[in-house]
Assembly symmetry: C2
Homo-oligomer: 339 residues x 2
Amino acid sequence: MSSIKEVARLAGVSVGTVSNVLNRPDMVAPETRERVQAAITRLGYVRNGSARQLRAGRSRTIAVVALDLANPFFIDVLRGVESAAQRDRLTVMVFNSSKDAGREERLIEELAEQRPLGVLITPVNDRGQRERLEQLVSRGIPVVVFDNSSRFSHGCAVAVDDVLGGRLAGRHLLERGHRHIAYAGGPFSVRQVEDRHDGLAAVLGERERLTVIRLPDLNVATGRTAGREIAELSPGARPTAVFCGNDLVALGVLQELTQRGLRVPDDVAILGYDDIDFAAAAAVPLSSIRQPREQIGDTATQMLLEESGRVPGHQHRRVIFQPALVERTSTAAQAPAAI
Amino acid sequence: MSSIKEVARLAGVSVGTVSNVLNRPDMVAPETRERVQAAITRLGYVRNGSARQLRAGRSRTIAVVALDLANPFFIDVLRGVESAAQRDRLTVMVFNSSKDAGREERLIEELAEQRPLGVLITPVNDRGQRERLEQLVSRGIPVVVFDNSSRFSHGCAVAVDDVLGGRLAGRHLLERGHRHIAYAGGPFSVRQVEDRHDGLAAVLGERERLTVIRLPDLNVATGRTAGREIAELSPGARPTAVFCGNDLVALGVLQELTQRGLRVPDDVAILGYDDIDFAAAAAVPLSSIRQPREQIGDTATQMLLEESGRVPGHQHRRVIFQPALVERTSTAAQAPAAI
DNA sequence: GCGGGGGGATGAATCGTTTCAGCGGGTCCG
DNA sequence: CGGACCCGCTGAAACGATTCATCCCCCCGC
């Protein structure tokens, strides 16, 4: 593996000149430039990133620590990140914390050593890593938190108003005539899960009933257990609509209900959250609360760049997006008459 | 951002000693060690990864270039990679080529500069990047190709026998009585797409009919167009079963058929490929050809480590896994009688 | 009392770039 | 004809860690 020195020797110039050919070619005489280029291709020379970064003090890479890559929501956010990064020719590295706090901690540690341009992260939990993130910031690595409404005051944040999302869900289901609604989600230590519940609860009146099905996690498997629980209730005790913590849960609920002979939406309506592509593609297309996924990623990345650019008057900001209801088949019927 | 020098000064020792505290603590007197540790925490010192790597010549990071993170198949493979990497305390960085050859090329270039321990990649196309990958190898960065049966002879490869997968699919559908089968997939320049087709075609006899629906890509949206195409055929001209290039396509087909009033599996059976989690979670649970996803990632990573360890007698290997049929509802009925 | 040895620290060399002051030589202008 | 400039290139100093030869001291054994 050849270094710049060998290129210089082969081309009969100094290393400084080779570096100039690489970084400001117009400062080098054409004839010299060509000679150097020839040496480069001849040796198959590739710059050493570590040495460059060591010298430069900072890389052109932004790191994304995703909470759960198995959730397509994050993939879509990632798309936004990548398109924003591409504009500035930055590289995006993705890491997956898999909702594992220990793993996340190790990753942050690792990132601190790597000194990326910035870090985009959805922390596993509000409180746990705050300190660690603040350490990153205090070491000059800007951090932007996304999809999380926690009070991380040492950097910018992008979030979606989950309470509003819950309210939209509640209003929609009330309009459809539902008077007994279930909320399937968890763990409640996750801010979003709690906020969505609170929004729903806030729009329900005295006369309406709310059943909370607590889940240990938001995925298809836990969604199925929720579906089972609902299906096994006697028709009178059964909610006529289920608002799910996210679309994965909704898909699980949908499958379980269908399999047990309940019709969606006629017997039970289902409303998801996130509006991932699989929601529309479900056999009973899912109504869902849509988050502007790509825009979240795009905006978060832009903020990160602002911070890292050390814009003089940069003020940490918190951008809150509004969710929106997407109506599809899974909530398309009026609630069945109470028994 | 403090460096090792400042730690040394604060602790009243030389930089060499600080380095020893970090890397071989038992070579340092306990009293000194504590003094250094105190200085480290006091300054919030973190090692500079670039400097370390520059000195060491190689990092402890393996890079994965995934073909399409939006396909849960790759997420599952990734899980296998991560678990294998964790055993050796390696960090996994994920990059997404999004099936874009240009993007992939840029990523490989970038990786060459970064000098990771190794690269795990599913190339966008067989021929295109072969040269580039060989360059990586010739620069001492081992490459393992996964989920691709191309002839990349400069490194190890992990793949699945896609022809066999196609045969399994065909045999299963024949057993169910289907005599007119459609294959929905594309582009055929992708080896897997072609192999799965060929396997299917190989088990069909003279009397059976095969309709090929060519798609520009394998995702839910193209699956829907395939579904539309099938639904719009007159019942007589309509295949009674569809074998799909992957599960995303199958989900699209399923939704479109259902929405247009065709029953699955009674009117049309659907068979997917990959057996991603969403396949089982579809409202009509999808039969699918299962690939050992996590094992692919795990094995590929192990091979990478072997190569990078420069095991003296290391021979490049090619591991081929066998796919298996997973029967679910979407192929559970006998084929309808021919009209 | 002296040589040997070993534990513990030092300091310099090194990794591969980038950057910048400086140098030689040619051109232009007064 | 001499100074001012510009062009193109050189050489060396950083960047921050690791590593290894070296040195210092103290203790032990003869």
